[in-house]
């Protein structure tokens, strides 16, 4: 049994992250851990894996034990052999250049005899259902593949307990289904598993228990009634010229064709969801629509003008892009300066702009963090700051890349309200997402991308019906009433 009793933790004198939290995990059991952003889920995971306090400094109290052995008295490598943690950032946890080396890394450190290593590597990759990755270069893997390799690299030394921090957050629905299958198999082999998940419904079917963490309490969780969408005011202006139009555009990274011949229009007051498998070209399409990448063939028009011929600041003023990694788009030293960065750059009318800056910071739930360093915010908070700061210059075209990753219920509401406010001003939004519920309930249109081409484009309900027929039922929203 893996046990935490009355565990409290704070990072170097700062406010308490965990306050007297207790939980247990048996072998052969799968527990989902949910809770709002910043409630300390990842911190609890690091405590349970012994990384706190052995690797990360801070003030820890309480009792942590595995099969009645106190974690405090064990060496980190002894703990690691029994309890493995797959972190949220699958990119940062791969340390070698080849998949086989990566999976062998743990067993090599634990001095597993060399004649057994190859077999362990193959078996672990089979367990994550990707034996074909064996000789691939780690830096060429897609996000989903990295996630799978990270899990395999833990399975290779047979830990008794496996903790996964948001394993499905950046996976496409097909990838999520495969992870569900993998975890269910491991569970039946007697492994104890904890999964941190915001969208608990993704793994609910294989979970024995769902726990809800609030920082100072951990309680059995019963799913709340679904958050309904904000009122959809479907008033798409189809008669006027489209806000953005791409005409047979193509783009490739070296020899790999990311976008091949896409033509798409987005009207004013329209909310478009872009869905598709990992690596299908969704993010590239978004960057092309924003004018941040130039298509190798074809043209993009913003308000009927070729985007390449427009001054760059005009494009930046009309569009706004929110990227997946919040750290890449925070530039200032305090939250307030970050929020008001656009006022100086676009020389906005100060009084009105300050009003908007206050309003959106408040909506984002960040009003109290004004003087803090934005890099010290939680992942979900940083992403909300990214979104609220671009609202100050009132962009007409919102381009959001997976805005719901790492957002709790409140965060989702905020993202939806930002889209709503843009549309009601006569703007439009293009949202790359794996969230079929959002697409079904909130979007006017769903565009499904496959291998750099548009496979389907239409009303969300129709597209999902087609996807079901094409054998891609994992993309079909089962929760909402489409």
């Amino acid at each position: 049994m893996l046990e935490a009793r009355d565990v409290s933790f704070s990072y170097g004198g700062e406010s308490t992250v965990l306050d007297s939290v207790s939980m247990t995990l048996e072998r052969g059991e799968l527990v989902l851990l949910t809770g709002p952003t910043g409630s300390g889920k990842s911190t609890l995971a690091k405590c349970l894996a012994g990384l706190i306090p052995h690797v990360i400094d801070g003030t820890l109290s309480g009792h942590l034990a595995v099969e009645d052995n106190d974690l405090d008295s064990m060496r980190i490598s002894e703990i690691a052999r029994r309890i493995a943690l797959v972190q949220q950032d699958s990119e940062g946890q791969l340390c070698t250049l080849r998949v086989s080396d990566e999976v062998a890394f743990g067993p090599e450190n634990f001095l597993i005899p060399e004649n057994e290593l190859a077999q362990k590597v193959t078996r672990s990759l089979e367990e994550v259902e990707r034996p074909d990755l064996l000789d691939r270069a780690t830096y060429q893997l897609s996000g989903g593949e990295k996630q799978r390799v990270a899990i395999a690299s833990m399975l290779a030394f047979r830990p008794d307990y496996l903790i996964l921090d948001e394993p499905t957050s950046s996976l496409d629905p097909a990838g999520t289904r495969r992870i569900r299958h993998v975890l269910s198999n491991l569970k039946s082999q007697g492994m104890g598993i904890i999964c941190i998940e915001h969208r608990f419904e993704r793994l609910q079917s294989i979970a024995d228990r769902i726990l809800h963490l609030t920082g100072d309490d951990i309680v059995p969780f019963s799913p709340p009634p679904e958050v309904g969408p904000l009122a959809i005011t479907s008033s798409v202006e189809q008669d006027s010229d489209p806000l953005v139009r791409a005409e047979s555009i193509a783009y490739s990274y070296g020899s790999r064709q990311a976008i091949q011949d896409i033509t798409i229009e987005v009207d004013r007051r329209e909310v478009v969801a872009i869905m598709g498998d990992n690596g299908s070209g969704k993010t590239t399409l978004l960057l092309l629509l924003a004018g941040l990448l130039s298509p190798h063939r074809g043209l993009v028009y913003l308000d009927s003008e070729a985007i390449e011929s427009l001054p760059k600041t005009v494009v930046a003023r009309k569009t706004a892009v929110v990227f997946q990694n919040p750290n890449h788009q925070i530039f200032e030293t305090t939250v307030w300066r970050e929020q008001t960065l656009g006022i100086d750059i676009f020389e906005l009318q100060e009084e009105e702009a300050l009003g908007r800056a206050n309003k959106f910071l408040d909506l984002a739930g960040l009003a109290d963090t004004r003087t803090r360093n934005p890099f010290s915010l939680s992942h979900g908070q940083k992403r909300r700051l990214n979104i609220s700061s671009i609202m100050v210059h009132e962009p007409e075209l919102l381009l959001l890349d997976e805005p719901f990753i790492g957002q709790d219920v409140e965060g989702r509401k905020f993202v939806q309200s930002v889209i709503h406010s843009t549309v009601s001003r006569g703007g439009s939004a293009v949202v790359v997402t794996h969230d079929s519920q959002f697409a079904a309930q909130f979007c006017d249109r769903l565009v499904f991308i496959d291998n750099g081409r548009i496979l389907l484009d239409g009303m969300p309900a129709d597209v999902m019906k087609q996807l079901g027929k094409l054998g891609r039922s994992e993309y079909v929203n089962r929760l909402g009433d489409v």
Partner: protein
């Protein structure tokens, strides 16, 4: 991105040599060429090197951009040498005598031979390093380094560095796009604005690097890195007879060069 790292994963006799053999080849070859300043020897080594590229199935033509830079730079080296060396027999003056002025900038035989020798040495050093990188699996190299007594903790640093280099390239590109999307473009106009642009690039990259470093160290500790002073290896370079032969040959060449410099080599053997 593969070209960024440089290692080209193909099968060739050169790839199959032990990394330490190739390291020894690189060291002896470059020591010889630096010590023994002889044009004919340089030309011979360069020709062998170009043939080895062939043997290793590494196409110099594919490295067009790098090659162009290297060739232009080597020609510049030659020209500069010719211009600054004034002793020796004068062939011609670049600026002939016109009335009272000149002659100036003599081109001498010694200048030309020095220029050729320096150009050849530069080409050999750069090309042999490129060949080494292109044919040596960095992971096997770092494992091989542990065989000559370097603790694996340090040798592994090489692998980690190569793993993260392409990543920072990508991140830099993303930060640049994020700046553009917020209307931030590099501005000329006062130190203040330049500093601001640098800060706007440096902060996000630094934070991202620190976070990557943290998850990397957690992931390595979480998989028992440093569990014992030794570890086992899935892949290990194998030492074959041909490695012994190549190392012996290279040592002989180095010894020959040293003897030639000391004037101990019979005249008919010196190139």
């Amino acid at each position: 991105m593969a070209s960024r790292i440089g290692f080209m994963d193909v099968k060739s006799p050169v790839h199959q040599l032990h990394p330490l053999t190739k390291l020894w080849m690189l060291l002896t070859l470059n020591t010889s060429i630096i010590l023994y300043q002889n044009g004919a020897f340089g030309l011979l080594v360069l020709s062998v090197l170009v043939l080895t590229f062939r043997l290793a199935k590494v196409s110099l033509a594919r490295l067009t951009r790098k090659m162009r830079f290297i060739l232009v730079f080597s020609i510049l080296l030659f020209i500069v040498q010719v211009l600054v060396t004034t002793n020796g027999t004068v062939f011609l003056y670049l600026i002939p005598r016109i009335g009272q002025v000149g002659p100036a900038l003599p081109v001498t035989d010694y200048g030309i031979s020095r220029g050729v020798s320096i150009m050849l040495r530069f080409l050999v050093i750069v090309l042999s390093s490129m060949l080494f990188v292109a044919t040596t699996d960095p992971t096997l190299l770092s494992y091989a380094l542990t065989d000559i007594g370097i603790p694996y903790r340090y040798a592994f640093g090489l692998v980690v560095a190569l793993r993260f280099l392409p990543l920072f390239d990508q991140e830099n590109e993303t930060v640049r796009m994020a700046q553009h999307s917020r209307g931030i473009y590099p501005e000329v106009g006062g130190l203040h604005k330049i500093l601001r642009t640098i800060r706007y690039t440096f902060f996000p990259l630094l934070v991202s690097a620190l976070m990557k470093a943290e998850s990397l160290s957690l992931s390595m500790d979480g998989r028992g890195f440093g569990y014992q002073d030794t570890r086992t290896y899935l892949r290990r370079p194998t030492w074959r007879h041909r490695d012994t032969a190549v190392c012996f040959l290279m040592t002989m060449i180095l010894a020959g060069v040293i003897l030639a410099i000391l004037g101990l080599l019979p005249q008919f053997l010196s190139v």
